[in-house]
């Protein structure tokens, strides 16, 4: 029976730096073409559901004050999120049944569709906060950039596998990836949506690294990219205001610093043990976006340093477990997509918590499993499903 990944045939002989294949004896799960069998990775599943549960409860706690004040219905936001969480679990279990091979097969299509959506959003997108990021589906809105993130991971993994033996070359290790990144960055830049650009560039770059691209080129690109980023920051007034607010939020307390100051008040007043679940005061309209990008501040206020550390440790364990699964994956593609998904998750968690605690200037990045938002949660749950799907093929978990 042929192994279900392909060897590069066209370029195989050109490259001297071909990595030695590592072969192991594995159980054969390939009796069905589409359905994944095998046991799911229980620790990963448990951690995911645990974090999601805490996240949904936190949405309730963080949102009821404003919901009550503005609509009179304290549970409105929470019930919506709960619905998406349940749907997300269903979606996750469904995704875990999809074979990585199948995913790889459709990854290019997904990439093209997501780029198409990025075009579409520029045309029919809803304007919010000065940019076009959302497409209205009638019952909900969603950000195409969420799909792009996953598409980049899935498609870059696919390319990294296809060019496995030429990854060290500039021609194959850099250019195809760079092309897609460039397209996506330009489209996101037109929305504009800088946080998505940052995340996608980071994830894309790290996918290239994981896929085996030449470190020298990557370093060079990072240097050039960094210089460009600096240029944008120095010229764009919008971002430089954020930098000022970041460096001394108290000085801009009533202006640009309002949000970060209110966030610090929330996080800081939590102290060691927090005010207790539901007891946040900052959520009573002081802290904007208290159930979206700044939900973690409310969580910190209510649960304190102990509770905040605990949830971060859960995230860390989930991510470590994910990378572990990637290392144990039975094929290169599975490994790369898990790596990509875990890296995406880690970057989002890091950037969100770093913003909330004013470690870095504010960017609009939500906290996975916590921040209110149906489509984003569904995407995250689908991603976890993909990881679980990979885990089904790993024997010695």
């Amino acid at each position: 029976m042929a192994p279900d990944f392909d060897f590069p045939k066209r370029f195989g002989k050109e490259n001297e730096t071909v990595e030695e294949p590592q072969v192991r004896e594995l159980r054969d799960y390939s009796e069905s073409r589409f359905i994944n069998r095998g046991r799911i990775d229980l620790p990963f599943l448990v951690l995911t559901v645990l974090i999601l549960t805490v996240g949904v409860i936190t949405v309730f706690s963080a949102s009821f004050a404003r919901s009550y004040y503005e609509t009179g219905n304290a549970a409105g936001v929470f019930l919506r999120q709960l619905f998406f969480a349940v749907a997300g679990i269903v979606l996750m279990m469904f995704a875990s049944r999809v074979k990585p091979k199948t995913i790889r097969k459709y990854s290019k299509l997904l990439m093209i569709v997501s780029v198409g959506l990025l075009f579409l959003v520029l045309v029919i997108g809803i304007i919010g906060g000065g940019s076009r990021r959302w497409i209205n589906l009638g019952f909900t809105t969603f950000q195409p950039s969420e799909i792009t993130k996953l598409a980049i991971i899935l498609y870059f993994a696919s390319m990294a596998c296809r060019y496995k033996d030429q990854m060290k070359t500039f021609r194959y290790g850099i250019i195809p990836f760079g092309f897609w990144l460039g397209v996506v960055v330009v489209l996101l830049g037109l929305e504009p949506h800088f946080s998505a650009i940052i995340i996608i560039c980071l994830v894309g770059g790290l996918m290239m690294y994981a896929g085996g691209a030449n470190i020298k080129y990557l370093v060079l690109i990072v240097l050039v990219g960094g210089a460009l980023l600096l240029l944008v920051l120095l010229t764009g007034g919008y971002t430089s205001e954020r930098i000022t607010a970041w460096r001394d939020p108290m000085a801009e307390k009533l202006g640009d610093g309002w949000q970060i100051v209110q966030s610090l008040y929330a996080v800081g007043s939590g102290g060691l043990l927090g005010l207790g679940l539901g007891q946040s005061i900052q959520k009573h309209m002081y802290l904007p976006e208290e159930h979206n990008d700044y939900i973690f501040a409310i969580y910190c206020e209510e649960m304190g340093f102990v509770g905040a550390s605990l949830i971060l440790i859960l995230f860390a364990l989930l991510i470590i477990r994910g990378y572990w699964l990637a290392m144990r994956s039975r094929d290169r593609y599975s490994s790369l997509i898990v790596t990509g998904i875990m890296t995406l998750l880690a970057i989002q968690v890091f950037l969100n918590v770093a913003v909330v605690t004013n470690l870095i200037p504010s960017t609009g990045i939500s906290l996975p499993f916590f921040s209110y938002g149906g489509t984003a949660l569904l995407m995250q749950m689908a991603e976890m499903g993909i990881v679980l799907g990979v885990s089904r093929n790993i024997d010695d978990k």
Binding site: Y69, D331, V349
Partner: protein, 769 residues
């Protein structure tokens, strides 16, 4: 077909990839989270207190619950000042934008304008500051109006209109005792008088409601973050002031201002001689405490009549305000003149350098060491040989210069100090003025006695009226200098006495014996026919006192115009003094036909005050003391339906003359009516069958007329006379100084007009020496 445990060989991620994944795991699974936890540690643990305190500061709303301000009562528990709950209405432009419909603004403005009587445009302008949460529309409105606003607010469920409780101060007696009581500002803090001095007693402690609110200021739903701290109401004060005595004082001073055309106001004080308690004190013109920012009507009318430019007028109004708030009795020092001779007399007697048996010669002037010009007596012709009592009666300057010289400068100054003239009296009011005296060196200069000489008759120094009456009270009460005071008790909100002000003796200055001797001499100043103070005579009472006439030295220095301050300080009863009264008239006009001197102008005012106050205090008149009949008014009996002859006999027995109108045999009516008191030798009219004329008559101007003339004029018009002040007689020097019914008013036929008589005797018209 089951292929469950088929084993296949597969290529798994090679070492390179595992290594790279591992590196990512280390960075994103471990390092990143360590960084985050460290940052959380910094924010949540290290900087916890900073952020917490800042957060609490913005989350906690502190609402004040105003304590009720204590009331002020007179000594009989009549209310002089009280607080009532009122409301303040404000609008919140920010909430208008947040919550109200677009078209509500105009409607709200017009309704509020309608209810509150505030100009519509003024209210409209409040909305312009759209960021504001607080724009006051009307302060301290009555609950009736507040209820209307509340109904309006509820009707439309308005969120941008707010009504908050506040308190307002009410002064039921208007201007009575205004300078004593004082007033509070809009923030309910005392600004003047007792309200200011005892503010911390009256205020109470405000309560607080500490609550946690959301960013919009709304209480958190389902939260228990609320703490109440109860307000404790302020204490109430009981004053020594008696509202009746205060009223008598103000009434008589106002009459004096009118009678003598006093230009710069009048002041007076009534003191309990034995305790130093102030029973009444005023400076006229005074002001309505309920409208303390409005100038007294008469003053305002005077200012308007002066034709000033707008800025001059505004300045004048402002100065008039400051002046009417000023309690001149305690704040303004003046040159007392001859009233100070009481003090010189007391120290001379106490030191034993003079006695009742000494004779004093007055040639009209006296030479003193260190002064080229001799010092003149107000009577340039001289008083000749006089006893000590006569010297006091005559208010003879050379005699008192001699007493001063006998006492000696150093001892004189010791007494000045001992009588409290060089220190504040310690009265519990703000703004006590400083007295001005020569320095000890100048005064005690052995080569120059002119300062001592002038001081002996009350010149070349200034003291406050309060210092004078306190020292005179000491002379009268057995020698004890008391600390004057106006607050006698502090009550808590349940009416229990919290603090009691006991009379405080500062020191004994003279012996009781000296006090008695001084009182006896001072009684003759009023009681003897030649006494300068005889116009302070009150029938049936033994009044002692001393006149004073001085020039307003400050005005004279500034303008060169000679303006007089005429005064009288008296106390009664002379054998056991209970009250002392000081009256000062500032710049009376000499066009009134009455000579501007203390004896002629101020003494009758004090007499009238005594006449009102002594019976009120329950001091029984002793009509036998005068050696005369002592009866200057008789109550008319009812003789209606008597036979004419019987009626005539009844009337004549009482000393009335009788005129009969009509030819009936029975008295059908009488004039005056029964039970009114009139002068004993008046002619009463009995109507026998004929009707009493049902008409009104015009009252003539009586001021300046002799008693005899006034009586004749009144009787001719069918009116009756009754007199106060000095005993009525046919002497031409006994003249009317004041009449109870103002000239030219129409009164019913047979009405009784009361006049105040003074002795306009040139021999008592002391000038300012």
């Amino acid at each position: 077909m089951k292929k469950k445990n088929n084993i296949i060989k597969m290529e798994v991620p090679n070492k390179g990839m595992v290594g790279r994944t591992l590196s990512l795991m280390v960075v994103f699974g471990i390092v990143a989270f360590i960084v985050l936890i460290l940052q959380l540690y910094k924010v949540q643990i290290v900087d916890h207190e900073l952020y917490e305190s800042n957060a609490v500061e913005q989350q906690v709303r502190d609402t004040t619950v105003a304590a009720n301000r204590g009331a002020i009562y007179d000594r009989n528990m009549n209310t002089l000042a009280m607080s009532a709950t009122v409301s303040t209405v404000y609008v919140s432009p920010a909430e208008l934008i947040l919550y109200e419909e677009e078209d509500m603004r105009v409607m709200i403005s017009s309704r509020l304008s309608e209810i509150l009587g505030v100009d519509y445009d003024t209210i409209e302008a409040k909305w312009l500051d759209t960021k504001s949460w607080y724009k006051t529309v009307a302060v301290k409105i009555e609950s009736e109006l507040a209820d209307q606003v509340r109904d309006f607010k509820n009707e439309y469920n308005l969120k941008s209109v707010h009504i908050v409780p506040d308190t307002k101060r009410y002064y039921p007696n208007g201007s009575l005792a205004s300078q004593i009581i004082g007033f509070v500002g809009v923030d309910n803090t005392g600004l003047e008088g007792i309200e200011a001095v005892y503010d911390r007693y009256l205020q109470g402690t405000n309560g607080r409601i500490v609550r946690v609110a959301n960013e919009k200021g709304v209480d958190l739903p389902y939260s228990g973050y609320e703490n109440y701290y109860d307000a404790s109401d302020g204490n109430s004060l009981v004053l020594t002031v008696d509202d009746r005595i205060q009223h008598y004082l103000e009434k008589n001073l106002a009459q004096a201002i009118q009678d003598y055309q006093v230009q710069d106001g009048a002041m007076g004080i009534v003191m309990d001689v034995k305790t130093g308690a102030i029973l009444g004190m005023t400076t006229l013109p005074n002001y309505d405490l309920n409208n303390y920012l409005e100038v007294n009507e008469e003053t305002l009318a005077k200012l308007q009549a002066q034709g000033l430019s707008e800025s001059e007028y505004n300045d004048a109004v402002y100065n008039a305000l400051l002046k009417q708030w000023r309690n001149r009795i305690i704040s303004d020092s003046y040159e007392p003149g001859s009233t100070f001779k009481i003090i010189t007399l007391a120290m001379g007697l106490e030191e034993g350098v003079i006695s009742e048996n000494d004779y004093f010669d007055c040639s009209g002037s006296i030479r003193v060491k260190g002064r080229v010009e001799p010092i003149h007596c107000w009577n340039r012709d001289g008083h000749g040989q006089q006893t000590l009592a006569e010297a006091a009666q005559h208010s003879c300057n050379p005699a008192f210069v001699n007493i001063g010289l006998e006492v000696g400068a150093e001892t004189f100054y010791d007494y000045v100090e001992a009588f409290g003239f060089r220190n504040h009296t310690g009265v519990d009011l703000y703004g006590e003025g400083d007295s001005i005296w020569w320095s000890d060196d100048v005064f005690e200069d052995r080569t120059n006695h002119s300062q001592l000489a002038a001081a002996s008759f009350g010149q070349t120094f200034t003291i406050t009226p309060l210092q004078l009456i306190t020292a005179v009270s000491a002379v009268a009460n057995g020698g004890y200098l008391m600390e004057p005071y106006v607050v006698s008790k502090v009550l808590d909100s349940d009416g229990n006495v919290v603090e009691n002000h006991e009379p405080t003796v500062v020191r004994q200055v003279i012996s009781e014996e000296t006090s008695e001797r001084a009182c006896a001499i001072l009684e003759t100043v009023v009681g003897s026919p030649g006494g300068t103070g005889k116009n302070a005579y009150v029938a049936g009472y033994r009044v002692a006192g001393k006149t004073g006439t001085s020039t307003d030295t400050i005005t004279e220095a500034e303008t060169g115009r000679k303006e007089y301050m005429v005064s009288f300080v008296g106390f009664a009863p002379a054998d056991d003094p209970e009250i002392a009264v000081l009256v000062i008239l500032d710049n009376p006009s000499n066009e009134s036909g009455i000579y501007p001197s203390g004896g002629v102008m101020a003494a009758p005012v004090v007499g009238n005050i005594m006449y009102d106050v002594l019976p009120y205090l329950g001091v029984e008149p002793d009509l036998g003391i005068d050696g005369e009949s002592g009866v200057y008014e008789v109550k008319v009996p009812n003789v209606k339906s008597y036979s004419v002859s019987e009626a005539r006999a009844t009337m004549e027995e009482l000393g009335f003359k009788v005129k009969i109108v009509g030819s009936g045999t029975e008295v059908t009516d009488q004039a005056p009516m029964a039970n009114v008191s009139i002068a004993p030798n008046s002619t009463v009219i009995l109507y026998a069958g004929e009707a009493k004329p049902d008409k009104t008559v015009r009252v003539e101007t009586l001021n300046g007329m002799s008693y005899r003339q006034a009586k004749a004029v009144l009787e001719q018009d069918g009116l009756f006379i009754r007199s106060m002040g000095v005993p009525p007689s046919d002497s031409l020097t006994i003249v009317v100084a004041s009449q109870s019914i103002s000239p030219n008013s129409e009164v019913a036929y047979g009405t009784v007009v009361q006049v105040t008589l003074i002795d306009n005797d040139s021999s008592i018209m002391e000038g300012a020496g």
